[in-house]
């Protein structure tokens, strides 16, 4: 079973040379730490920066240079700043190659819910609805079950949707799952996790074909 860093590490393997990547807050942010150093990747943040670097050294923070999580950041050589309309042109126009974000629920048809729990304080969708409606390549990073132990990979989402039929892949603490036309297809098991454990933790239709390899992290 993986911890958050483990999930991030596994997702980092999906990041290919030459990719522009948008990382959501939470586990997705950790992915940047595990991307291979021999490939070139640029990180986009929807508040208006391409070519994000690491956090600044203490004393070098600039209030005018932040990411979408409002954290102070730095930029790398080749970086650029732009306005919000152009930022979403990158996203909506499918110039960003990979979007990684968290979710509360994913359905077997690729629906995703990650912005609202009725009755609770709703903070908003931010850029998530634009990202999931536009990206060709969306990976969800999340725990397989919620705190109460209930599956987050469902037949249909119970929470208000963020987007429909858009998730292509889910990486959880238990498994790597591809969202296919026929449902969740199990691709890999987390180290030490059995197929039965994954089946039990998955409410949606899980397709298990042949031997399921353990993740190679």
């Amino acid at each position: 079973m993986l911890d958050k860093n483990g999930i991030a590490k596994r997702i980092a393997k999906e990041v290919k040379d030459g990719y522009y990547v948008n990382l959501g807050i939470g586990i997705p942010t950790l992915v940047a730490n595990f991307v291979r150093e021999d490939i070139e990747v640029e990180f986009q943040s929807e508040n208006g920066v391409l070519g994000m670097g690491p956090f600044p050294f203490e004393g070098e923070e600039d209030a005018d240079v932040i990411n979408a999580g409002k954290q102070t950041i730095t930029t790398l050589p080749g970086a650029s700043f732009f306005d919000s309309a152009m930022s979403f042109s990158m996203i909506r126009g499918q110039h960003v190659d990979l979007t990684i974000l968290g979710a509360m629920e994913v359905a077997e048809n690729g629906d995703i819910a990650n912005w609202k729990i009725p009755g609770k304080m709703v903070k908003g969708m931010g850029g998530a609805m634009d990202l999931v409606a536009s990206a060709e390549n969306i990976i969800v990073a999340m725990m397989h079950t919620n705190r109460a132990g209930a599956s987050k990979l469902l037949k249909t989402c119970s929470l208000p949707l963020t987007g429909v039929g858009c998730v292509k892949k889910v990486v959880t603490n238990l498994a790597v799952i591809e969202v296919t036309e026929k449902g969740f297809k199990l691709l890999e098991r987390a180290p030490g996790v059995s197929v039965d454990t994954i089946k039990e933790a998955t409410e949606g239709h899980l397709i298990v074909e042949g031997d399921i390899p353990e993740m190679n992290l």
Partner: protein
């Protein structure tokens, strides 16, 4: 050169009234029109509809207007980090319309550019699209969204000149350029008002035609919301 320079924030905000709709640039606390917000607090205009990506924090940004209960309705994409906002929203005192961030940016740009409406994929199949026209283009579904219609737009830039030309800095740019010219009156405040002719015409982000009033802000706190640093190794 058409002169847009006004003496200061008081003159810049002439004409603001109760129940108006305002647009505010800024993302989190970065690039927000600090001086215009402070003046709105002083003027204590009420019943405002505010279009802004975020709603500030309790004691800064639009949070200052919330404290005085000046805001009737917020149109935003993300409104966390603000206890007073949460209290007013849950109690029903404050009306909140949450919309996708890219839709917010483009509804501003559409108003600037004279487009009444546009089709965007964001929100299709979600409650954001409820009651809205949807339509298929090339096998994909889109939602019809409309240009904003606001009375004032409050913009913060880095440098500007009396002609109203603006240059933004870093990610403090965000929604600011898209909101210029999107409201009936665009009020720009800048950190530095430079002599006309000093800005390279090639480097101007927003030409002065989109700005009605410009002034140099008296003071900028530029508060950092999430100070995140790494250790020197």
């Amino acid at each position: 050169m058409i002169n847009k320079k006004v003496a200061g924030v008081t003159e810049a905000l002439q004409g603001v009234k109760d129940n108006m709709t305002f647009m505010f640039g800024g993302f989190g606390l970065s690039g927000i029109p600090e001086n215009a917000i402070a003046e709105l607090v002083k003027l204590n205009v009420k019943g405002l509809t505010c279009v802004s990506n975020n709603a500030g924090v309790d004691d800064f940004g639009l949070g200052l207007l919330l404290q005085q209960k000046q805001i009737k309705k917020m149109i935003s994409s993300y409104v966390g980090e603000n206890d007073e906002f949460e209290r007013q929203m849950l109690s029903g005192e404050l009306e909140v319309e949450l919309i996708p961030q890219g839709t917010l940016a483009e509804r501003a740009r559409a108003a600037q550019a004279g487009f009444p409406a546009f089709y965007t994929p964001a929100g299709y199949g979600t409650e954001v699209a409820e009651g809205k026209e949807t339509r298929e283009f090339n096998g994909k579904m889109y939602v019809l969204e409309h240009a904003f219609d606001a009375d004032f737009g409050f913009i913060k830039a880095w440098k500007g000149d009396a002609a109203g030309n603006l240059i933004f800095k870093g990610t403090a740019r965000n929604f600011n350029p898209n909101m210029c010219g999107a409201a009936k009156i665009t009020v720009a405040e800048v950190e530095e008002l430079v002599p006309v002719g000093e800005l390279d015409p090639n480097e101007i982000h927003i030409p002065g035609i989109f700005v009605q009033r410009i002034f140099q802000g008296a003071h900028y706190e530029k508060r950092i919301e999430q100070r995140t640093v790494r250790q020197r190794s």
